[in-house]
Symmetry: D2
Subunit: 383 residues, 4 copies
């Protein structure tokens, strides 16, 4: 049987909910069977109907859903909760899911602040349930390959890391138009202490550390709110220092007009360099001091095991954002199945961003905001 | 309820069957409920088990499947058959499906030869059922946009069309290794009178005519078998003449080492030009005599209705091969639903390649082979 | 002392004359000391004045120039003639230069027709003087590298060659505006029997043969005049067959709007492939069946001797059209110097396109035009 | 007559001297007539001989050269001095040249430190002679176009500026091999207080301010020496704040393996964005919130006057590093000629980087080094 999923959030007009549903559906391992898609019960049911769900499993609140599902027979009830709400609900929903016995796969950032994240870590530990965080960009096969190349030592010790995440969609006051995505992300009550950095800067930080295996130990941040009337940051420039001596630059932006979803990473080591861009995710460029640049392509026979395990199609058949996202769902479902069957987690599932990334990510967000407000040059980050 | 699909072909080791299943699953509109995945009943059942199908709906042959499914209650039996077998089975399976009352969505080329295609057209007409052909590259949003731009007259009358489909995977005798894809494609009994041209040249022809709206009226072909010991062509160079005076070049290849899946199209009109490449499908380049080149990107606010209706994600979140393929499944499912509900077909479904493309495609394949064997320069193509 | 050059053609408003002058000046090996820049003596002198030439060495005709220069002391008179006139003058000017004892470096195509080219070859042979033809695209370092890679056998036997030369500047009747370049190129009296093919198709043919070392043995051409009122072709599509079994496609165009100067070459062998584009001339892409694509860059330490000998700057300092053109001038000047000093020609000078390319190029132009008019599929080319 | 140039530095084995000579020669406006190419008189003469100079104008020192040339007749002596020595000689040579009455065109950075630069400014003012600084990247036509687009207001007020200058050639201790370029650049006595930043960071700063017209008012720098045993920096990361509120990032590196000469600039305004890369200098990308990206190409009919005045060839005929460098020489020569003829400087010459850029550049270099040593976050830059 497929793994049974319940979704919280993702009602009509939402963006990320639909993404999660497609990602969950793609590989035929997961079935969406229940949902609390909206805090308005009628809208939740309307969404459920469009998704061909049974009427009685479309709930008006997450509390109601977890309560009701927990009463269903074990082979019928949801097995995990997919959380796709605005940030401020991530923690209470995850807490409730876990306490009702459901595994959790949550959108990022994990919580509204670090305190919540630490609390969540305790609950995860206590319940022993699975917790996954959709740092979806780590799901790309060539990101896996990049990580494996660094790990293998082929680049030598890493010296410099440049990670960028420019977007342009908030260059104007889109939130005034009622656009749902812009509305909650720019609202401190629902988004937390940062807009740009919490939304995308955190992906950049996660990607840089995931690929290089290095830990940031100090940072110097300059957050800006460019659009008049906005409260939270819409741009971030950060200098980085990594444990062991590597230096770095991280910048993220929502006001860089014409930039779409430009996450990209360059890693320079003593022996070689790599570069990867999310918008052309099937290409990884390797550069060496003394021979031609190499262009690694998804599907290449020469790729490592992790990249291959996250690829579905032959070379030249481009996989994209949804496929990378689906890799997280697939591996999470495999973990749920393994747990159910009392087996050890499969290798590919060990790789999933989890509760440690959740806490570290929130700590980093708070450090960036604190650094930006500080006159001290280097803000220590020791979490 | 989701639309119910039965699949023929696509057992373990197959490539295109998995593609069709992912494409069908992505948008949550279709449920795979039955299959004859292999002519070996045990293997068919094994595949079905991996796909979480009910054991009794995994059949050992398509005849058995259509027979049995036709006996099931109307709201339970399959509604359409997805055909993903090697070429030589396309016709008999489609015929049987239609005659048992099931709509058909078939991989290309539609049949083994033109005679079968004409026969199939009669059956489609007689049964009045839906027939779709997965010329999946027409499912890309920017291919729709390209077509709409040509149609709008913005490029002026078209003068020159260059369509290429280079691949390199058959540069060696891969068929000797037992690789399944290579094995049947190079075998005249299962593939028909052509390997390279029937497999990919036909996509190129379809794409060029789809985007430009022009009809080829004469051609001059040079097919080659480069790999020793191979019977069918593995390379094709063709000059084209279109009705109305446009000229063109079509070349396809399976021996162009390093080429992955390089389908691409350039269209030059009296007022402007466009270019699109499958390997970077989210970019469409427009060029004008007197102002900067324009780079249209999937998700751009300025896109036309058809492109938008075939896009799921915002700019910079790359969609790829599976999403384009899924567009065909989504629109086909919508057509099946409309038919069931007695409604007119939705606009997006009218666009699907169907039985006319099937017949024209087979006629073109035969014309190319005939031209290649002929000493006459221009071979008329008047179908 | 620098080598002394006289120029014929290249008066005000000309394009290619200025190119030749910059190419000649770049490396400091050549001095322009005389010119017959225009058939109008006053205009010729005006041009000469702008170029800081002595008034008495600006001539009103090439006959006058060669006559007068031949009277000057040996260490003062011009040593070679650079011919940059419209096509119809190439032959008479070259003939006169050679017969007055001057080496010749001529723009292409070498003559107005094949008969003239054959006659020219006899004069070159008789006089024993140097004759160079500015197939300037062979001057790029990565074109040399491409040739050396093919020669080395790294790609294996060549199977398929695709050479394209699209431009868009003649998509409208530019010749009606009095634009000088368009005016003579579209005029059979001054350009010969072809416009597009003679102007740029001939570069494409030369490049393909230069890099692959293969000889075309048959062709099938389709020339078109798209712009109403024009007499000569403005577009050319050609299928090629090479001696030894390789196949090819050559297409050139002056009506492909938005194309700038898009000469490019793809060569596919049994073991690997290469691709080069004139508009990004410092990049050469190599592709292999089983490992990542390699991107060779001008200035790479791994380049061969010929590429290095034609590069002036380190990696990342782009050299372009003029530098490639200047390579021809530099090597021609070195040849003139060697001849003067009674030394053997330097290796780099042996590589220059010369009288054999001149004759073969004219023969090919005539074969293409004949093929286009013929109903026979394959036109033999045996020159 | 051509403008007469004397060169200081640029003997055998030097890189930048040859660049300056080619740049000076390209447009036929300047003649190299004298040189002190080396402090070793014999080597200086040997270099001069290769350049076809008169033996008696190849000097063993700059003092000797200026002394001797000043004695020559006015229409024979050099008119300007091109300084291409290592940094530590820039000031004394420029001072001497000016005091002997010669205009100066100097490589950058202008001097060894700010104090010298201020002193130089006084000498320039006192002598009233021309002083140019070869910030050669401003010579690219599309850099001019970028500046004009910003100036025109099409991008709106500028918010964010990202300028990068990565190289990889010093990733190892190349200076140990005796490589001349590496040797002096890593030596504080000859290079000054910085290696990477003074060599290339200063180009990045100059480019950003040139294009945007904005002035940096504070900065936060992190310089690093990655290669063991090296004294000066080989990497620099800098946060920028511009007068008026724009933010920025500047990073430069000589240890980023595989990077060639990767100077590039992104400018984001309230209404649009632009991006330019030195390695593909003939392309300028403009991006807008609501319509397709525009790709401006050198030679486009739609370019502004400044871009056109700095372009020699039609679209698609790539110009590169030398042509951009030559633009500075051409405009400097025009300025020398205008001065000689008592005419106002031509418009294109007003644009040349001069003594103000020289002083500002040195002040910026010192501020970056000071900031890097400071624990204060923001280092004011008010020059």
């Amino acid at each position: 049987m497929k793994i049974r999923m319940g979704m919280i959030g993702g009602g009509q007009g939402a963006f990320i909910g639909a993404v999660h549903r497609m990602a969950a559906a793609l590989d035929g391992q997961i079935e969406l069977v229940a949902g609390a898609f909206s805090s308005d019960a009628a809208r939740s049911k309307a969404t459920g109907r469009e998704l061909f769900l049974a009427e009685d499993r479309c709930y008006g609140s997450y509390e109601e859903m977890f309560e009701a599902e927990a009463q269903l027979p074990a082979d019928h009830r949801i097995e995990f909760a997919a959380i796709v709400t605005p940030n401020f609900l991530h923690f209470p929903v995850a807490k409730s899911a876990l306490e009702h016995g459901f595994h959790v796969l949550s959108d990022k950032p994990a919580t509204l602040d670090l305190a919540e994240a630490k609390e969540l870590a305790k609950i995860v530990a206590r319940t022993g349930l699975l917790y996954g965080l959709t740092h979806n960009y780590t799901g790309y096969p060539l990101v896996k390959e990049a990580r494996d190349i660094v790990r293998s030592g082929r680049l030598g010790a890493i010296r410099k890391v440049i990670v960028e995440y420019p977007q342009g969609w908030l260059a104007q006051r889109l939130e005034d138009s009622g656009q749902k995505q812009a509305d909650w992300r720019t609202d401190p009550k629902r988004a937390g202490i940062t807009c740009c950095f919490g939304d995308i800067g955190t992906h950049a930080e996660n990607l840089a550390e995931y690929v290089t295996g290095l830990k940031i130990e100090a940072l110097c941040a300059d957050l800006t709110t460019f659009v008049p009337g906005r409260v939270l940051d819409d741009d971030a420039n950060v200098l980085l220092r990594f444990h062991g001596g590597a230096k770095g630059i991280l910048h993220a932006s929502q006001i860089s007009i014409g930039e779409e979803n430009g996450l990209n990473l360059r890693v320079h080591g003593e022996k070689g360099s790599l570069a990867w861009r999310q918008e052309e995710p099937n290409t990884l460029v390797l550069r060496w001091p003394d021979r031609p640049r190499e262009v690694v392509r998804a599907g290449n026979a020469s790729l490592g095991a992790a990249a291959k395990a996250n690829t579905r199609l032959p070379m030249g058949h481009p996989e994209g954002f949804l496929e990378a996202f689906a890799n997280l769902y697939r591996h999470f479902a495999a973990a749920v199945r393994a747990r159910k069957e009392g087996k050890p987690l499969p290798a590919a599932s060990l790789d999933l961003p989890g509760i440690d990334d959740a806490v570290r990510g929130m700590a980093f967000i708070e450090a960036v905001v604190a650094s930006s407000r500080s006159g001290e040059k280097w803000y220590p980050f020791s979490y």
